[in-house]
């Protein structure tokens, strides 16, 4: 799979514990139209696994379950490679998921 800059960002976000689509968007400041196709591609290449969150949580909030993405072992290796290749990825800081990140990391 091709390692583009946005892909590297998404990988890094996953590696740092952002597991839901919207959370990854918050972390990377990438639009939903970029993040989701990358997740689909990672999924297809078996670099991430996806599963539904526990239905208990969803029922409590009276909404459908969210989808939970997690790096596989191969995904971990790929993410490390990405971190080597693209230094700017360090721009992602560990921060509360729902805070809107600053604009400077935008492609």
């Amino acid at each position: 799979m091709n390692l583009t800059y946005p892909t590297a960002l998404v990988l890094q976000a996953l590696a740092r514990g952002y597991h839901y689509g919207f959370d990854i968007m918050d972390a990377t400041a990438l639009p939903s139209g970029t993040v989701y196709p990358i997740l689909r591609r990672l999924d297809r290449e078996s670099l991430v696994t996806a599963r539904w969150e526990a239905s208990r949580l969803a029922q409590r909030e009276q909404r459908p379950a969210r989808r939970y993405y997690e790096l596989t072992a191969a995904g971990e290796r790929f993410a490390a490679e990405a971190a080597d290749r693209y230094q700017p990825v360090d721009a992602i800081q560990r921060r509360p998921a729902r805070l809107r990140p600053a604009r400077q990391t935008k492609e």
Partner: protein, 889 residues
């Protein structure tokens, strides 16, 4: 639950619902669940914190809208479609951006594929596709040939046909058609309809079912009962306006009533019997006794339907055996005669078959070169785009993705070219049908579904052919390419070699075709300039046949023609009106050849008997035709039936028999209709080219019509103005005397001359087209290759410019490189054309295949155009700013 949702959630969910159908069906529900889960989860979060609410809300809707990209991605992954569409749009954008290059590529491909489509549709109709007759594989035509010249097929004599029909067992049906013409008086004016008399089961043997009515029944092929007729589709339309109630109608033909029993379908054109115009009427033939013994004149055409088992070879063997029997029975007329069986399909495509296949091969070759050309143009383009590809690769495009994009671009180009090509093909086909020689079924060639399918395949094929090389090259951009801010300093060796070979090959091909076209043009001009021995304009010929009881005696013939000529001379605009039996160039010319002797000289041995063509004429014939009188006088009023028999000879005879002397006053003996006549030579006239402009004149003796009245005559009228304009008045003049007389053929001298040149003109036209095509290809090829190499050498040029080279030097560098290749191409082309124009020698006239003027002109023409093609990239090279080029490195 939805009713309690706040507006923004509802809006987001609504957006997702709108987008949902884009997602492939099997993942659609999961997709919706995932997005709804995220949106609602986010909302529950937003709802808790009131401070940043509006920004979060806006972001939520924005993200929900972004689901369209996700859905599109899934759909694209599913089908690939959107990507290809994207590539297609990208391709079109690029084409627009590089308009000159693209236009060139499209034109080159359009002409290449258009000609291929045109030639293919002819090949398909005439050779590949079955003729429309029922079960055509079993239909054959049968011809008589001589054992000595098996390739020269002749029609069958009535006797041979009858013997074949009685003795051969290979056929389900075997039938013949005899040429016949019908005088038709019921139309607006009397006319002669061409047609045929057909023996039993003729239409069944061919396998044609009438459009209307029926065919003839066996009991109708009996003398006295043959008062029925079948019309061709054309005849039905022309004479009866396509009257649906024609079957059963009674029509006067030959002053006898004929009942129409059927109409043939429009495609019926079995290419039988010599045809100067379409055959319109068929009637049943009743075999006559004498025909069983008639072996000499082979003027019938025979078709047969094989029984299911026998092969064509078996049938031919059987007929040959019958021919051997016939030769034994009729040694005088049938010795060394045998039979040839030709499948209908092969007969229909006729002599066009070989040339067509060669033509098809040639045009495919031209198309291949066109593809190579476009490939080289695209390669030039691709090298400019190396950075684009490198960037795309860095952004995540795999090699496959890039290859696909370039291929889609090629396909876009090929599609545009294909559309233009089909239009070109349609136009070219129209021209071929109009100006080309007559070939059966040719007028039915059309661009239909099959041809479009072929065009589509061709498009895909050409796109692959010319797109693969650039695509593969684009698919492997180096890391280096991204760092390079310009293209590399020198072109890679294999690619330059490819370009050089292309230029040399194209130039030599163009050279061959150009020389061929030039030679044909020179021949055409030479033939057109030939003096036919008569005037070229303001003459009209109107042929009539006067037979039957009304014209049974010489006196009656004389009376009719004298009166007719008198009235013709009174027609306004007529300057001279004469009569002749053998009008030069007229298709149904009456050629009579007879023995010739000079009286008072010893008779030559029988093997060296002299013959001459004999024509009957009036004195005004020579005046009307502008035939020069070399000596003596023309025929005059004094040459009456009771006077001394006289003759005029042409100067060919005069030279041959009285070299250097005047034959006027000498006496000759000629054999006319089995009798030897002794005649006084009273004049010598110029020789005429009777058969065609490029065929030699023949010896000819003229006898006065008054002394030898004859029934097959042509009025030859010279006019002050347009000769076609006097036709109505001439007809009125003749019909005042005999209102039932039909004119068999009417033609102006201009048309006759043009017709005699038409085959030559057609070939010239075709080869000139090909030469122009090859020429354009060569120019485009030179331009493309040089543009490419010049770009590759940009840095070198920049350095040279910086070191003090002047524009002139740079231009000379580029032009020099191009012209060196052109020079090699011209030299090879010259050698090849000298070797190949021998193929054309049959069509050459008045020029040798190695004609310095033609060769020189071709070299000059190619040189000039090639120079122009080199000069454009050269100029572009000189316009570079060395600083910019160098700084860019």
């Amino acid at each position: 639950m939805p009713s309690r949702d706040p507006f923004l959630v509802r809006l987001s969910i609504w957006l997702l619902r709108v987008i949902r159908p884009l997602v492939p069906r099997d993942t659609r529900d999961d997709w919706m669940r995932e997005w709804e889960g995220e949106v609602r989860h986010r909302w529950s979060w937003i709802a808790r914190d009131r401070r940043t609410r509006w920004r979060e809300e806006a972001e939520l809707v924005r993200r929900a809208g972004g689901a369209v990209s996700d859905a599109a991605y899934l759909r694209r992954e599913f089908t690939w479609d959107l990507d290809v569409a994207h590539d297609f749009r990208h391709g079109l954008r690029l084409l627009r951006k590089r308009a000159l290059l693209s236009a060139l590529a499209v034109i080159v491909l359009a002409i290449g594929s258009g000609s291929t489509i045109a030639v293919f549709s002819v090949v398909d109709r005439l050779i590949v596709r079955d003729p429309p007759y029922r079960d055509p594989g079993r239909v054959v035509t049968i011809w008589q040939t001589s054992v000595d010249t098996p390739s020269e097929r002749e029609g069958a004599s009535p006797g041979a046909f009858i013997a074949w029909r009685e003795r051969a067992t290979s056929f389900e049906a075997i039938a013949a058609v005899e040429p016949f013409s019908f005088d038709y008086l019921a139309g607006s004016e009397p006319e002669t309809l061409l047609g045929g008399l057909v023996t039993e089961r003729f239409f069944e043997a061919l396998g044609v079912v009438p459009l209307l009515g029926r065919t003839f029944r066996p009991e109708e092929h009996v003398a006295g009962r043959a008062d029925i007729a079948i019309l061709s589709y054309g005849g039905w339309q022309r004479l009866f306006g396509g009257d649906a109630g024609i079957v059963g109608r009674v029509v006067q033909l030959e002053e006898r009533p004929f009942r129409i029993v059927g109409v043939l379908p429009h495609w019926f054109d079995p290419n039988l019997l010599e045809r100067t115009r379409p055959r319109e009427v068929y009637a049943p033939k009743a075999l006559q006794d004498f025909e069983r013994r008639s072996f000499r004149s082979r003027y019938w055409n025979v078709v047969a339907r094989l029984k299911p088992e026998p092969t064509i070879d078996r049938a031919e063997q059987e007929l040959r055996a019958v021919s051997t029997q016939l030769a034994a029975e009729n040694p005088r007329t049938m010795t060394r005669m045998t039979a040839a069986v030709v499948p209908l399909a092969e007969h229909l495509s006729g002599s066009a078959r070989g040339p067509l296949l060669i033509l098809f091969g040639a045009i495919v070759l031209v198309l291949l070169i066109a593809c190579a050309n476009v490939a080289s143009l695209l390669l030039a383009g691709a090298s400019e785009r190396r950075r684009e590809f490198a960037i795309r690769t860095a952004l995540g495009a795999g090699p496959g993705r890039i290859v696909r994009q370039v291929l889609v671009e090629s396909f876009t180009l090929a599609c545009l070219a294909s559309v233009a090509g089909i239009i070109f093909a349609k136009w070219a086909l129209g021209a071929v049908v109009r100006f080309g020689p007559h070939v059966a079924q040719l007028d039915q060639v059309a661009i239909d579904g099959r041809i479009l399918a072929f065009a589509l395949t061709l498009t895909a094929g050409t796109a692959l052919l010319f797109g693969t090389a650039p695509a593969l090259q684009a698919g492997q951009p180096s890391q280096q390419a991204m760092k390079d801010s310009s293209t590399s300093g020198t072109a890679s060796r294999p690619r330059r070699r490819f370009g050089s070979v292309l230029v040399v090959a194209e130039v030599s091909l163009a050279m061959i075709l150009l020389v061929g076209a030039g030679l044909l043009l020179r021949s055409f001009v030479a033939v057109a300039k030939i003096d036919p021995g008569f005037t070229r304009s303001n003459v009209i010929a109107m042929q009539v046949f006067t037979y039957g009881p009304r014209y049974a005696s010489g006196d009656r013939l004389r009376a009719f023609y004298d009166q007719a000529l008198e009235r013709a001379r009174a027609v306004p605009g007529v300057q001279a009106a004469g009569l002749v039996s053998a009008m030069p160039l007229l298709s149904s010319n009456i050629n009579i050849e007879g023995g010739f002797r000079v009286e008072g000289r010893p008779a030559p041995p029988p093997t060296e008997q002299q013959t001459t063509f004999i024509s009957i004429a009036t004195g005004d014939y020579f005046r009307a035709m502008g035939i020069p009188l070399r000596n003596g006088r023309l025929f005059a009023e004094t040459d009456t039936p009771s006077g001394r028999p006289v003759a005029i000879v042409n100067d060919l005879i005069a030279q041959r028999h009285w070299p250097g002397a005047n034959p006027v006053g000498e006496r000759i003996t000629i054999n006319w209709q089995g009798r030897w006549l002794t005649l006084d030579v009273v004049g010598v006239v110029g020789r005429l080219r009777h058969d065609a402009l490029d065929r030699e004149a023949r010896p000819e003796v003229f006898m006065p019509f008054a002394q030898t009245p004859f029934g097959s005559m042509t009025f030859v009228v010279r006019t002050a103005g347009d000769p076609a304009g006097i036709v109505p008045a001439m007809k009125t003049a003749v019909w005042a005397i005999d209102p039932t007389l039909a004119f068999y053929d009417i033609a102006t001298i201009d048309t006759l001359l043009a017709q005699s040149l038409s085959a030559r003109r057609f070939l010239l036209w075709l080869l000139t087209g090909f030469a122009g095509l090859a020429f354009a290809l060569a120019a485009a090829g030179i331009y493309g290759v040089l543009t490419f190499t010049t770009l590759q050498r940009r840095r070198e040029m920049g350095v040279r410019l910086a070191m003090g080279a002047r524009d002139r030097d740079i231009a000379a560098l580029v032009v020099g490189e191009g012209m060196a290749l052109v020079g090699i191409g011209i030299a090879l082309g010259l050698l090849a054309s000298v070797a190949s124009t021998r193929l054309l020698s049959a069509f050459l006239f008045g020029v040798t295949p190695i004609d310095p003027l033609t060769l020189g002109t071709a070299v000059l023409l190619i040189g000039v155009v090639a120079f122009a093609a080199c000069y454009i990239p050269a100029r572009r090279a000189t316009r570079m700013d060395p600083l910019i080029v160098l700084r860019a490195e």
